[in-house]
């Protein structure tokens, strides 16, 4: 398998590659959603799947998100592995009843008689000058719900490996794709069906002075900040959380034990965002190690402004650098 030629892929192409791979390998995998078949998805994530696998396995649904989620639950209860697409995360809210009340509970409710091996994919996040409701990042809503997994990839290779695991996982996974970096850059992806582990953080860059925790598109600003600070001799450890629920605090705690300082970055609104859970666990478990207050650099508690003012909301590399410098300057 590993003799396969590595391919240069964008993040959205990696989504497509993983879907096609798993559909070939496992015929119980089916894809459904709005515009996913003939049109191949508005971002082309499902391009070509209908031609290869036919309309019984790649389904254009009517325009109804509650339906998409609920139908996926029904399919999954019978042993299929549906991968449903919500066209934009801003339209996922109508699907929440089925996600919270059923997808997340089918196994528990039936004490294991039935289960819900489904994946709900949605492009998420801002920064692409889209119309209203096309830039949401409300991952915290799902990270609070028992029974779910919430996964956010941040590179083509991790997207491929994590989406494979998400589809193979026997339980429901909310898979949020940072669309701002869908085509940011290409990376070598080997289509060898090798999955990456869920439920663990990825330490993308080791460092000793401070721990920088983030996920999704912000990983790129985080790495840029780390690069620039390296030139000033500041060594930043960058952690890509990747799976927001369940949360791998071990990795984060070990890092903070080493560095004594932590900055958390996320695009979503600050209040009750996932950064709060990470900071809270640091307050519970890392008090002795913390040489400076934990800092969250997060979105404002406002809806994403229309795109003319979007940049006021988005988090920029300078802000991360400044936040790190403040945290290092402390005490």
């Amino acid at each position: 398998m590993t003799s396969l030629p590595p391919l240069k892929k964008t993040l959205v192409e990696a989504v497509n590659l993983a879907l096609a791979h798993e559909m070939r390998r496992d015929e119980s995998v089916v894809v459904l959603g709005e515009d996913v078949a003939t049109n191949g998805g508005v971002f082309r994530a499902t391009e070509g799947l209908k031609d290869e696998f036919g309309i019984r396995r790649v389904m254009d649904t009517p325009l109804a998100e509650a339906l998409i989620a609920g139908v996926a639950v029904g399919m999954a209860s019978q042993g299929l592995k549906p991968v449903a697409e919500i066209q934009f995360m801003g339209f996922i809210f109508a699907a929440m009843e089925h996600i919270i009340c059923h997808a997340a509970r089918m196994r528990n409710r039936t004490r294991g008689r039935l289960s819900c091996p489904m994946v709900l994919r949605a492009p998420y996040g801002g920064g692409i000058h889209a119309p209203e409701h096309h830039s949401e990042s409300t991952e915290a809503l799902f990270a609070h719900i028992p029974g779910l997994r919430v996964v956010v990839p941040s590179s083509p290779a991790r997207t491929y490996g994590l989406l494979l695991s998400a589809i193979r996982d026997p339980d429901p996974v909310i898979f949020l794709e940072p669309k701002r970096i869908y085509r940011l850059n290409k990376q070598e992806v080997i289509d060898n069906g090798e999955a990456l582990p869920l439920d663990v953080c990825f330490t993308l860059r080791e460092g000793k002075d401070i721990t920088l925790v983030t996920w999704g598109a912000m990983v790129h600003e985080a790495l840029q900040a780390a690069d620039q600070l390296a030139q000033q001799g500041i060594s930043v450890e960058v952690i890509d959380v990747a799976t927001l629920k369940p949360l791998d605090m071990e990795t984060i705690l070990h890092s903070v034990e080493k560095t004594g300082r932590c900055v958390i970055v996320h695009e979503a609104a600050r209040s009750n965002g996932v950064g709060a859970e990470i900071a809270a666990q640091l307050a519970e478990k890392a008090l002795l190690w913390l040489q400076a207050p934990v800092k969250r650099i997060a979105g404002y508690d406002i809806p994403m402004p229309y795109f003319k003012y979007e940049q006021y909301y988005m988090i920029h590399v300078d802000e991360i650098i400044q936040g790190i410098e403040e945290t290092l300057a402390y005490g």
Binding site: A64, L67, G70, V71, Q78, C101, N108, R109, D171
Partner: protein, 378 residues
């Protein structure tokens, strides 16, 4: 169809629809037309009758258990028995059932044990293990109408796998006001899914009467919005319910698409044991409901055809009560599940991040149960 509308020369009729109503045995116990003995045979009719009698007795017992603090809130199916038995006898074991919470009769006929039903309403998840019943039937669905969408998904699975069975789902009249109901039947229409939706129109959604739930003259006509057939049946006529459902399932299994069936019944009890219908329901309405109830009429029909008599009745009731007593015993004697069950079925494998919580629960449960024992021993 070029007919002009209210003689407006610019308008023509482009589509027409009819809604049919089926009844075989009326509330007086008379066949409304000649009954084909191949369908309406003694065996079937007595089976339908016996099951209705059984479930009404069970229902009474279940309410009593709740009243005496031995069980939780329970939705009686008093007056809804014909719908349940019609479903139960019309479905094949390999069909899939996506029920709602008032389907005790159908569950019983699907093979769900009385103990499991009582366990569920007694606040124990193990009631949904339904050992002995078809393993892929869905558990009870509390959020109204969600099961209809799940049923559409199940029907998709059947179609995707080229299987030859069908899914049957149920809901109440109130449930038809939810988006789920409409979104799901709309999909069933487009994809011609092997799916039968049975609406138990018992005229009430807790305190909200059918008349203020929708302005549609019939619930059946809601199928027109989905481009699929819809029909009404006398939901107090077990034979009619059985027949229309049987036909619809046959059609669905043959790949000829979905059907919406409105079974017209009357909720003779409170909404649940937590409800008091006298707050909102005039006694006259209830009395009229009793005149149409399903058991008496079939009993009359069976008597008049010499299919059934007082001795059979006595014998059957005795047997029912034995079975029910056994079921109740089994329920009451079921030992509690280990506390950690509340963690151990959430995921296929408990995430590492939750280990600590699980340990905490085990310790907590130990001390809680110790305290309980103490109190009891005092």
């Amino acid at each position: 169809m070029q007919a002009t509308i209210n003689n407006n020369p610019f308008s023509k009729t482009v589509a027409q629809f009819n809604i049919a109503y089926t009844q075989m045995i009326n509330h007086l116990g008379e066949a409304v037309a000649h009954l084909d003995p191949d369908i309406a045979n003694e065996k079937l009719l007595t089976d339908l009758y016996k099951s209705m009698v059984f479930i009404r007795l069970f229902d009474k017992k279940a309410v009593a258990l709740q009243r005496t603090g031995k069980m939780g809130t329970y939705p009686s199916s008093l007056g809804q028995e014909a719908v349940g038995v019609g479903i139960g006898y019309a479905m094949n074991p390999n069909d899939v059932f996506a029920p709602y919470y008032r389907d005790h009769a159908a569950l019983y006929l699907r093979g769900v044990s009385l103990a499991d039903m009582l366990l569920y309403w007694g606040g124990d998840e193990r009631g949904s293990l339904i050992n002995g019943a078809p393993q892929f039937d869905l558990p009870n669905c509390v959020p109204i109408a969600n099961q209809i969408t799940h049923a559409a998904g199940i029907a998709c699975a059947i179609k995707i796998r080229h299987e030859k069975n069908a899914v049957l789902t149920t809901c109440g009249d109130g449930a038809t006001s939810r988006g789920d109901f409409y979104e799901a039947i709309n999909l069933a229409g487009i994809w011609q899914l092997p799916m039968v939706v049975v609406v138990n129109n018992n005229q009430w959604a807790i305190s909200v009467s059918r008349g203020i739930q929708t302005a549609a003259e019939t619930i059946a006509q809601k199928a027109i919005a989905a481009g699929m057939p819809g029909e009404q049946v006398d939901g107090n006529d077990a034979l009619a319910v059985y027949s229309v459902i049987k036909k619809a399932l046959k059609k669905a299994r043959a790949g000829k698409g979905p059907t919406l069936i409105e079974a017209i019944t009357y909720r003779l009890g409170d909404h649940t044991t937590a409800d008091d219908a006298t707050r909102y329901r005039p006694p006259e309405a209830l009395n009229k409901g009793w005149e149409l109830e399903p058991i008496k009429r079939l009993q009359t029909f069976l008597h008049n055809n010499n299919f059934w008599g007082p001795e059979q009745e006595r014998a059957w009731i005795t047997q029912c009560e034995q079975n029910i007593t056994q079921g109740v015993e089994a329920y009451l004697n079921t030992p509690d599940a280990p506390p950690e069950d509340i963690f151990d079925y959430l995921y296929a494998e408990l995430p590492f991040a939750m280990e600590e919580q699980r340990q905490h629960l085990i310790a907590k449960a130990r001390s809680l149960n110790a305290n309980k024992k103490e109190e009891e021993s005092l």
